[in-house]
Symmetry: C2
Subunit: 377 residues, 2 copies
């Protein structure tokens, strides 16, 4: 596939397709490249120049060629690349591809088997189609922020760019669906993914809850809305998750935390009553947890049969035994020799190894090989 | 495809496949059905009995048959269904399918073209494989919570079940990839999706940032870490997003908010200095915004060329003009006659209409039609 995408949603989509076996040729602006090459954190390359660790983390296993879509000779190379391609991906503001002369009508008449994947902030249609795409804006407009944060507190941004990433994964689904249908029809399609649209499909039960209960849902904090105790609790050092989903687990929890009075307290006898008095119960649980660290508590709670889990920070994530057993981190050598771990592809097929991860390319790194392959030099 | 999944991650995956054109036959436990049928909010069905709006929102366009995988006659029907199926989806705890006699080895030897999609909390391998899957636990273990929340505050759950939903979308990708490869090889695959794994692939730049900067990233609040002002601001009524990404936009913002002294303040002259003094600047901006509601400010800011957007709550989402122009809400009649809007499929193909959304089925609703179709009655 040919990849005109920049920054995050598009490159994330094409990286996943590369992970799944696609050959991805990244077409970048001469001299500048993907904007993500200019976003930190930076590492020093072999020449001591800054090289983007951010770019490195979302462009593995791709090839790079620098072409200007405004230059006639470069356009000829670009069109030669399209001749062999199954998919073209782009995440310009809608209308930009038309101005390049590569709108869907023009492309599909010349390359009828080509699938065009377009990712934008608001989609190819509708009144906001030409507005710029910002992750935070679509998180805010899509309602996810209105549900995230402390109960009664302000709306809160999800701490990862879920606006971009959800769009990227849904674009992968759209491309695959178009390829599956092309096998039958022989014709490509224009996949139109809007970052805002994909936020709506993450809302899960909130839409229906609002319509049935006629109450606008607000931030729900870090506890289960209808099971108590089930949520995040603070220990002597660090937080942990305790998920005592029924009366028996709750009584077991009281035993292991030596909270005899809590176990007998009429406010805490049933789940519905515990939900009503969740603040008082959380205070007592955190008082008991204050004697040990989260790391010390987890084996004790697990031993007692209480569902629980660590609150991993990023350092903890990288150490996590399950994630390491699943080979969820790929170590790749970045420009300058630093070895960086990035998230592996989470799509696994039993009995198969992913072994074809290659580091992200330097700008224009594959020009000569590609031109030779096309017979253009 | 045949669908044994329950509650959220699995049904979300199979709903998306149904939206894309797959025929999905939901096999449910007799008398009980999908656990989601017992999760609120509830509406009254035609008999005045409670019917789950939650189930309704994630099971559209599927058929339902009740079969016990422990009953010989029902197993024969189930296996007859598998004979014609491309895909079987399940989200039991790993090991459960083996106990039913339907582990991957057994299935693939009898149905070599079948794709088995398994979704679990921690995957089919690794030390935690048999632990139960809870959205909050994988959100905590996967690191997303450690990045979400107010700066300096506690880790915060993302207000939607991103643990389940990310697993569901990645399962769709895995199923499609397996079907594309099957067209070449003639053989199915076992797709193994772990909710925890998919959390890692959402972490975006956090993994690399930590490794390069050697500082464990914490909650980053609702503002851009390196552009100011860019984030959520409070108005007289409601919050809004302002994304003044450069010096010129910042000066324009000062003009429209009539903050002459802020515009001249040396602390706010450059973006890096604005980032350093972001709290002081936010206080001044919110002081200025306090004179009008978010709804009043948005057209004024837009007119002045300041990138901005509404902080939609769920009611605002349902009213949003762009989302309505994109037909992002599907109105379907729930049991009892209430019409509920659910999120439409966000995967669009230019020039095509999705028109085949059907309401979620009642338990066992399609038994007779299915048995007739199979020649079993």
């Amino acid at each position: 596939m040919i990849d005109l995408t920049r920054v995050l949603a598009g490159p994330y989509c094409t990286m996943m397709l590369a992970d799944l076996g696609a050959r991805v040729i990244k077409v970048e602006m001469p001299g500048i490249g993907d904007d993500a090459r200019h976003i930190g954190p930076f590492i020093s390359n072999a020449d001591g120049l800054p090289s983007s660790g951010y770019f490195f983390s979302i462009n593995r296993s791709k090839e790079s060629i620098a072409l200007s879509l405004k230059d006639a000779a470069d356009r000829a190379i670009f069109e030669r690349l399209l001749l062999d391609a199954d998919v073209l991906a782009e995440n310009f503001t809608p209308g930009t591809m038309d101005r390049f002369g590569y709108g869907w009508e023009a492309l599909s008449s010349r390359f009828p088997r080509l699938v065009l994947a377009s990712i934008s902030g608001f989609g190819q249609t509708g009144p906001y189609r030409e507005l710029p795409a910002y992750d935070m804006v679509v998180q805010a407009m899509g309602g996810v922020m209105s549900l995230t944060g402390e109960e009664g507190g302000p709306p809160t941004r999800v701490g990862v760019s879920i606006g971009d990433i959800a769009a990227g994964t849904h674009a992968v689904i759209g491309v695959q669906a178009a390829l599956i249908e092309r096998a039958r029809t022989g014709r490509g399609k224009h996949v139109d993914i809007s970052m805002l649209d994909t936020q709506i499909s993450l809302l899960e039960n909130a839409l229906v809850r609002y319509q049935v209960e006629q109450v606008v849902p607000g931030p729900i904090g870090s506890r289960h809305p209808s099971i108590t105790p089930f949520g995040v609790f603070k220990s002597k050092v660090g937080h942990l998750i305790i998920a005592a989903g029924n009366d028996r687990k709750f009584r077991d929890l009281c035993d292991v935390l030596q909270m005899r009075d809590v176990k007998a307290d009429p406010r805490f006898l049933s789940n519905s009553s515990r939900c009503e008095h969740h603040r008082a119960l959380a205070a007592r649980i955190e008082e008991a947890l204050a004697t040990r660290t989260a790391e010390e508590w987890l084996p004790i709670l697990t031993q007692a049969g209480i569902p629980c889990g660590p609150m991993n920070d990023i350092a903890g994530v990288l150490r996590d035994p399950q994630l390491n057993a699943r080979d969820m981190f790929v170590s790749l050598e970045a420009p300058g020799g630093m070895v960086l771990k990035t998230a592996a592809c989470p799509i696994r097929f039993a009995g198969e190894q992913f072994a074809n991860y290659r580091p992200a390319p330097e700008l224009d790194a594959d020009r000569n090989a590609l031109l030779q392959e096309l017979g253009l030099v």
